[in-house]
Structure formats: C-alpha cells, structure tokens
Symmetry: C2
Subunit: 435 residues, 2 copies
C-alpha cells in the first residue's frame, strides 16, 4: 500500500481511528492500556539499513520508495484517552493523523499493543472488583503468550489494582512490589514437607508462605501449624499459607479452622490455581476465608476473551471524510471526540461520540493530544497515577455495568452532526457505486 | 526457593519434566514448538549486574547468594522431542537435568515459551488439515499478544504448513515468503474503489490481490473484473480477489460466477475475516470456490484454547524419584522416555511412556539429547526441516485423531516399571505423611 501511495503521489494527511466494534462476551466496559507503549513505538518508527536491504531482495519495491522508507519517521499527531481510562465500544481510544503512508505503516503495531494490553487490564480490573478489597498477585508469567506479554500482564494488572507480581523483571522495570511463594518442586526437593517448611522459615522468618497441597492440603495445614508454632518459639510469625488445588471454598474453611485452633489467627490464607474473576467472585460471595488471591493463566491470556474486535480505520483523507460500508463492519467518518457525562454523585451516565470540533456540554472530553509533530507531549506517566485513574474509573461505574455476567449496556450515543455526516457520506458512496 | 536451596547447601542434580496434563477442548494431539527458542534462553541464562543490584534492594537475599547468582549460568543437560514433533498429553516434551537452583530458575521461561508456541503450532496445523491443500497465509500480527507473539505465530504457522506471513520481520528472520494485500483504508484513500484497483494494478501488475468488500462485495467483484480486463489489455493478469466479510460461502460462489463470466477463470479467490480451522473445514466441505485462506485473530491467539495445562514438575532429586500427590494434579516420578509405535503403513498406533533407561521395542524413542553441560548439541534446524517433520507427523495421525471436534483419544500408556515406581513412591509418601 505504501509503495502504491508513494507512486501515486498520495502524501496527504490521513486520520485513522482506533476503536472496538463490540464487546467480547460478558464485558460491559474496557480499561484502555498499551497507549504509552504505542506512543513509544511511534517515536521509534524507523527502517534500519538491514531491513531496507531485505525489502530490496523481495523485488516488490522501487528504489526511490525504499529510499523514502529509509528516511521515514513518524511525524504525525496523536490524540488518545489517557492510559487506564474506562472506555466503551464504538468510542475512539486513539486517533492518529499523519501523512497517509506513516499512518498506514503503524496500523499493525497500534492494534497489536493496545488490543491485548486492554484485554489484560480489563480482565484484571474485573478480578479486583470481584475480590472486594482482598489483595491479588499476578502469577501469570508462565502461561502468557511470550515474555513481552508476561511483562505487559504484570504492568496491566498492577494499574488495574493488583498488589504485586511474581515477574521480577516487571517488578524492577515498573516498580511493582515483587511477590513469590514456593513451588511444589521446592517441597519435593526435601526429604519431607515439614523439613521443607522448616528450611523456608529458617531463611525467611518474616516472609514465609507455605504451600500446603503438595501431598495433602489438610496434613499440609497441620504441618504448617506445627512449624508456625516453632517459629513463634523463636519470636517469628508465619505470614500465610497457600492453597493451590482442590475445592478452595471447602479447603479454606478447614485450613482456617486448623490454624485458628492452633491460635494462628494472624496467619493468612492465599488461594491460587485456575482462578479468574468468576471464581474469585464465587469464593468471596460464599464467604470463603481467603485473604489473598494469586491469579495466573486464565487472567494472563484473558482466557474467556483472548481477543476483541479492535480496529484501526481511516476516517478522513485529505480533509475528505471516508468510511467503509462492509456488511456488519461499517465505520463512521470524521475525526472524533468522546464526551462523557456524570450524575451529581460522580457516576458515569453516558458517552456521546461527536466530531472532534464539536462541544457537547456538559460532557467531559476524553481524547487529549498525546503527540504533535511526532513528539510526545508529555513523558510516560508514573504507574501510580495510571493505577489511580483505573480505580476512579471503576468507581464511576454503577453496579449494573460492573456485573461480571451479562452487564448492562452503557449508553454510547452519536451526536446528530456525526450521524448526518455518516448518512451523507454513505449516500455519496452508494451513489458512486451504483453509477 | 533458590536462596533457600543455597542456604541449605542443596546443590544436587534435579530433573524436571515438561508435559501437558490434559488436552485443551477438541484437541487430540499437539505440535510441539518453542523448543529451539527455549534452548537459546537456557544458553543465555545470566543475571547482569543491574539485575543483581535490583535484587539486593529488595532486602530478600543474602550477599553470598547474590554473588552465586551473578556467576550462575545454565550448566545442565536437556532432552527434548525435536521441534515440530506431534505429541500427546502426559508425555514429556522436554526434560532438564541440572543443579537444582538452575533447573528451578528456568521453570517460567521453559513453560512460557513452549506452552504458547505449541498452542499456536497446533491450531495452525489444524487449519492446514482443514484446508485440504489450499494455501493459508498468516495475517495474525494485529491481534497476537504482543510483537514477540506475532513473530512466534508467523514461525509456528509456517512450520505447521502455512504458505506465507504478512509479518515482514518474521519473513526476513525466518525466511518465510512474505504476503500482503490491501486494506480497506487503501480503497477509501482513493476517490473510488475502481481507481484504487487501477492504481494497485499499475504498481503491481503481476501480484495484485483486490479487496472486494469495502463498500459491497458484488459491486467490488464487478469492478475487479473490469480492471482485470484492462490488465489483460496491457498483457497482465490479476492474481486474486479477497473476500473479508459476510457469508463467505455464498459470496465466493457469486464472485466466482462474476469472474468466470468475464473469462477470468485464472483469478483466484482469497477468503479472510474471522477464520479458524472450524470455518475453513465448513467452507471446504461445502465446496465453496475458495482457493486460499488468510487467517488472523482466532488462530493467532489460539482463540478456543488460549492456554493449556502444561507443567514443569520435578521428577528426581539427587537420584531420588519425587512426585506431588495434589488431588487431580499428581505427577509421576523418574526421568522418562516416549516410545512411539507405528503400524505397517506408517500410522502411529500408540505411545508408551517409560523410564529413561528402559527400551520398549519396537517403539521409536522420541526424546533426544539437545544440550549437554549447558551447550546445545546442534544448531537450530532449518525451518524447512521442522516443517517437513510437522507434515510427516500429521500424516501419521489416522483420521479419528485428526478430527477437529471430539477427536479420538490417542493411546498413551505407561510402562509397568514406571507404574511400579509411581506406586512405590506414592506409598512411601503417604506413609511419611501419616506418621
């Protein structure tokens, strides 16, 4: 496409809009993430000489286009919702305006980064809501789709409200509290479970979490209570025990009893093993005495919604509004803005999507300038700021929109101006097709 | 765990086994992938000084352990099935023997790389079987979980038999044929669809694929036929047209008719848009006149099975067989070998999992030495070799195991020796728990 635009002399500015066409199953809102990484990618756009050489070997491109590509950098402007914003279907998360070749070249990376990071932040935010204040740690690195995704999961889940991550590189890079417990292999490496517990307590008298289910959760709890008593004799306190298999609701009650009968009321219970927001909600609603959750696989791959229908569509070229009409996949023309409305208590009541130049009072505009002339307007925000934004966004959702299953559909409307522009553009296109 | 092993003086050799506990839904076999990348990761194991400094700031570790970590490299040995092997549940894909701290440190990266690459290679191989000889191109980069996953998907799908990828970096890195078509934005950038087709044909007279559904697939097909006629007048031939939305079965027949009536029998039809192995099978079985498929999202995230229960369990420590007993998650002790059996026509008839020192004639052993003393035994194989291995593996599966829905369960048995060792180890553990 770039080669053809180049040869046709098409160098005008194009505006592309990134948005989600519809929700994945059981989603009523999304937490936008990946925007910061995308801006960094746009900043870094460049074809190094070895890549230009490779493209030359394909025989597809002209020499003057490859020279053009070698000099290409991203020079456009970007408007985006801030990282961690609560967003809805149809509403633009990011709009990019740039010479058409630049804007087209970045399509894949823009969708790639924002789609999956948004899925992970959303899934994590749902877990946080379900946990009703209990701490959650990210244990997903083993089963994310690669190491880049493991880092992104640690970051996305932290901005969504998780307390810690087991990914130590992510902990370092993003300043997230690192968290780790022992694996079953640790226990099996010792001659017996109780010797493994004792060794761990010797090393980490102030931060021990004993894994109970290597052989049998109940006998593991008894061993843990025994070693916790030995720790007390030495002036220490066992931090927690961890359940990782079986009926977590039932086992947590049995383990709580064993601990309480041993006067170990301060020892907390961490549950893990196949957890997601649905299971966390069930355990919490049942009153299972679980103090902390460790979540992994199902959240780290957004298991029930591993993709969403996020698209990047051209809405304007050379000041001409454009759209596609494909059945069921029609886009709306024009550069846009989201105006969000709130009630007097601060709850969100609805979004209006309007053309960028409109002002839909008293709605609060969400898309803000993020890059101008290829330069970021402000550096990456501190993750604490983003985390706060997610928390405020989630607090602004009334319960029907927060529901994990079949949430109510949040009202998203289009301004009359944008509807008229769409209608007009569609009619012109249909007329041109039929002549 | 490493700190505790270190402080306890536990430095003996441990053997860990990587295997899948059970199949994801509707899977009857898996195509092992990610082994080559994992071996590279093991080779690269090292903690650079900045990471040691970070670990020191956590206050969790002793100075002598951090010194030990700074000098740690992977010195162990690895046995693995060759990249691209067809594998089944319960059977080890890789076994790592190394000083326990090394073997434990690599757990996350080993599972991370092999789990998702195996899922992607498996999903892709299912598409190849469903397409019955029709070419498939990887269009998944937009919706994989990150860019690392996009490259891995291009590679995994190529070894599984795909013909090309739209990921140009992957094409360069792995020597995969690059493939691309136009996007809807390309069409909307021109004053009309037919002008867009003409511009593309001017640039790429020998490699044009026209996207038909930007406005209306049928009128798009008529425009394509018109421009294909103009191309013929100039001595060129349109390569193909692409359908990307709507009822692909119905539309492909209508478009085929329009092309054939214009004497364009040589113009092929490429279908894309939400495809996976189930939809490809349906279209092929219905006789839809589709010559090539482009697959993206659903395959690139292994949509119906975005994770599997692949685990890395210690099976031996200091020559002592070990296992965990956790309910429903019991592991089997001892270093293992897979012996695969075939019938006289070359079809696979069953695998026997035995201890590594056994010989289950006439079974063919699958795990081979891949690293010794921390060094790879042989360099990465050429992808063509791996691709051939996948094709031969798939050809060795009789139809009941190939079924996309509810495949027959391939026979995997355990040798009597391994069953006895498991029983004996379990009894010893249970006895130690109950005393």
């Amino acid at each position: 496409m770039g080669q053809s635009y180049f040869s046709e002399g098409m160098a005008h500015e194009a505006t592309f809009s990134l948005y989600m066409r519809d929700y994945p199953p059981d989603r009523g809102y999304m937490v936008a993430a990946g925007i910061d990484d995308t801006l960094d990618c746009l900043n870094a756009l460049a074809f190094d000489p070895t890549n230009i050489d490779y493209l030359r070997t394909t025989g597809i491109f002209t020499g003057d286009f490859l020279e053009f590509l070698a000099a290409t950098r991203f020079t456009g402007s970007v408007r985006a919702v801030p990282e961690g914003s609560v967003v809805f279907a149809d509403a633009p998360i990011m709009e990019i305006s740039a010479p058409i070749i630049e804007a087209q070249l970045v399509e894949t990376i823009v969708i790639n980064q924002i789609q999956y990071q948004t899925l992970l932040a959303t899934k994590s935010a749902r877990c946080v809501l379900a946990a009703q204040g209990r701490a959650i740690a990210d244990f997903a690195s083993r089963r994310t789709h690669g190491t880049e995704a493991a880092l992104a999961m640690a970051r996305a889940s932290y901005i969504a409200g998780f307390a810690a991550t087991s990914n130590v590189l992510a902990a370092r890079r993003y300043e997230i509290p690192p968290a780790g417990t022992m694996a079953h292999s640790y226990i099996t490496g010792f001659s017996s479970e109780i010797e493994a517990f004792r060794a761990y307590a010797r090393m980490f008298p102030a931060r021990s979490i004993f894994l109970l289910d290597t052989y049998d959760t109940i006998s593991g709890a008894r061993n843990a209570a025994l070693v916790a008593g030995e720790m007390e004799d030495a002036g220490h306190r066992l931090t927690a025990v961890r359940l990782d298999s079986g009926d977590l609701d039932h086992l947590s009650r049995q383990v709580r009893s064993i601990l309480d009968e041993a006067n170990l009321g301060y020892v907390r219970i961490l549950a893990s093993g196949g957890l997601d927001e649905y299971e966390i909600e069930r355990l919490v609603n049942n009153g299972a005495p679980i103090d902390m959750f460790g979540v992994g696989t199902r959240v780290g791959v957004s298991g029930d919604a591993p993709w969403c229908d996020m698209v990047y569509k051209m809405v304007c070229y050379d000041d001409r509004p454009v759209m596609k009409l494909s059945g069921g996949k029609e886009s709306m023309p024009g550069s846009k803005q989201i105006f969000r409305h709130f009630d007097s208590s601060g709850l969100m009541t609805g979004d209006v999507i309007a053309l960028a130049y409109e002002n839909i009072a008293p709605g609060r505009p969400l898309l803000a300038e993020a890059m101008t002339n290829g330069q970021r307007i402000s550096p990456r925000e501190n993750l604490a700021v983003v985390r706060q934004r997610v928390a405020e966004g989630a607090a602004g959702l009334s319960p029907p929109y927060q529901r994990l299953r079949e949430p109510a559909r949040y009202p998203v409307e289009f301004s009359s101006t944008i509807q008229e522009l769409t209608q007009h553009t569609r009619e012109q296109l249909v007329a041109s097709i039929n002549t």
